[in-house]
Subunit: 340 residues, 2 copies
């Protein structure tokens, strides 16, 4: 049976409906697929101001001076040099026997968060972090006009053990023609709750967390930061807006101002309290195609990489967390930092 | 709001319904929750024949000689010294506001696969591997009589980077009062397919894989081994029985005989072809409470740990796999091994 191949495909597991990007690396031999080692901190930095030629041409930059791909920028967006999805072509959705697939169309971009060589987002100024948050917004607003694309996922891998391949502080954006399964499950679960209870589960969570107090890391005008009741990982931390809003790209200026402070505070607490851990964060946001959804709320999930996800978790989706979220939240609450 | 605590709890995420075991380690400080380093291979081995006193008292052993907790065994089962679930107590299912929880009741056992210090299951004799497979069977048959328990998950972490904390070849069993979410999703998805198409999705997969050929690693009398169409990880490999059977504990003697050969062959190919990688395998099997399910089939999912699961995957359940399963299967097919 012939199964036509392109270099990059989206393939759907026929049992559970999970989409996978198959993005073969033409240069990688099987032996080359090895564990990443620690990042070198003294090598060439393609994200440094002045090295603009070392990246693919920029898509967006906030600038003090200079033209495209010249120095003078503050935050800069470039296409990922090794993209998991590509912007050119048709989706060509197709079935092959029981399997479903389509071309891996989409955008895979890198947000370079600062022109100087800083590894920790926590050490960027609050104003710098706010501009990163605005860049996230601007890229989503731009990309959602492409009708082939359905969802945008913004995420950050900090440190080699969290999947980063360069140490200069950066985040990534993948906009794709499918809704990632975790987001879909959140949409389904929160919709069921809304239909049954008539309320937003995220609003109920905030209400209960504020009443319980024990899992709260910090509160700000627009956000509640807490370690969730059923945390999968030690020190898993969520940043949840107080006001209903399902799409990150609907963020307002007062929220960005506030979130810059919140991000810097939480990341600094983790850096100081947990010995500068590798970490990931992911912004969970509703699909482009929907208007504001009353049952869903965008939020940030932040995971320091303190323990491996072992076999039990990989196979079952059933997690063992050795740090109770109440203890994690208390530790982070009590980790003192200098005024930011 | 008071939320009563026990040392170990099962907690359910209220949005997506994912259960998490919260098993705080009383001795671990936050700083102690660090990445595991490589396993030492010259330290004390509590699983070695003669060191029976170093483990908790055995639950089961296949023996040539000796009494319980004495030398003379071939395969031995002991309770995990740091169990994620415990066998004593009531479930005490309860709600706390919007959250659901219960006590983490269950069994967490370690299957010591050989009396001598061997790190690689691939180097055990076929007969030894068959006895390990029989021990899996015997423990499930015994534990499913406990009406509090709903599901048994057998898994193996090989190598520190796959989550192992001891190098002596061993596997683990966690029997719990809930169905892990990944198994539940497989049950739901395969049930939908069965209701709609009137066939078992696993049978259709085998049929298409055998017709396509490109993802087949090997075939035996009772099993088909292949890299699945939507593989999440490089060299992800599934071992699927040809005959319908939803519960591993229904395995027959001819199947065990055959599976011993298959396991040794596949693990040896991975050891030789992929430079002795860390790996995990998990046996997916139906809940105890059901009779044989026509829509589900037990199987083994095997993942060599060749790449990290980076931020994108953690947050989204959306995987990027850099090795096409067709290439992985071809590589494993063509990896030659000595006659086993």
């Amino acid at each position: 049976m012939a199964e036509p191949k392109t270099m990059q495909e989206l393939r759907k597991d026929p049992i559970v409906g999970r989409w996978v990007i198959i993005a073969p690396d033409r240069l990688a031999r099987p032996q080359g697929v090895s564990e990443e080692s620690e990042l070198s901190t003294d090598g060439f930095d393609p994200f440094l101001e002045g090295n603009e030629d070392a990246t693919t041409p920029e898509i967006l930059a906030y600038r003090n001076s200079g033209g495209p791909n010249e120095p003078g920028w503050r935050v800069r967006v470039v296409p990922n040099k090794f993209p998991a999805v590509t912007i050119d072509g048709d989706l060509d959705k197709r079935g092959v026997g029981i399997y479903d697939m389509m071309n891996a169309i989409g955008a895979h971009e890198v947000i370079v968060e600062c022109p100087h060589r800083e590894m920790n987002m926590s050490r960027l100024s609050v104003e710098n972090i706010r501009e990163v948050l605005w860049v996230y917004h601007d890229r989503l607003v731009d990309l959602k006009r492409d009708m082939r694309l359905v969802h945008g996922l913004i995420f950050k891998n900090k440190g080699a053990r969290a999947g980063a391949s360069l140490d200069h502080s950066h985040s990534q954006l993948i906009v794709s023609p499918i809704v990632p399964v975790t987001i879909q499950e959140e949409l389904n679960g929160s919709k069921s709750f809304y239909d049954y209870r008539g309320r937003c589960i995220f609003a109920d969570m905030i209400q209960q967390e504020l009443a319980t107090e024990s899992r709260i890391v910090l509160e700000s005008e627009h956000f509640v930061v807490f370690c969730p009741f059923a945390s999968r990982f030690p020190f898993e931390t969520w940043i949840l807006p107080r006001q209903q809003s399902s799409h990150y790209e609907s963020i307002t200026k007062p929220m960005v101002e506030d979130l810059g402070n919140v991000m810097k505070t939480v990341l600094t607490k983790m850096e100081l309290g947990l010995d500068d851990p590798p970490y990931n964060y992911v912004i969970h946001s509703a699909p482009f195609s929907s208007q504001d959804l009353p049952h869903y709320r965008w939020h940030i999930e932040l995971f320091p990489r303190l323990s491996r996800v072992a076999g039990f978790e990989w196979g079952s989706g059933f997690y063992i967390n050795t740090v109770a979220p109440e203890n994690a939240a208390k530790f982070l609450r009590e980790t003192e930092i200098d005024e930011i």
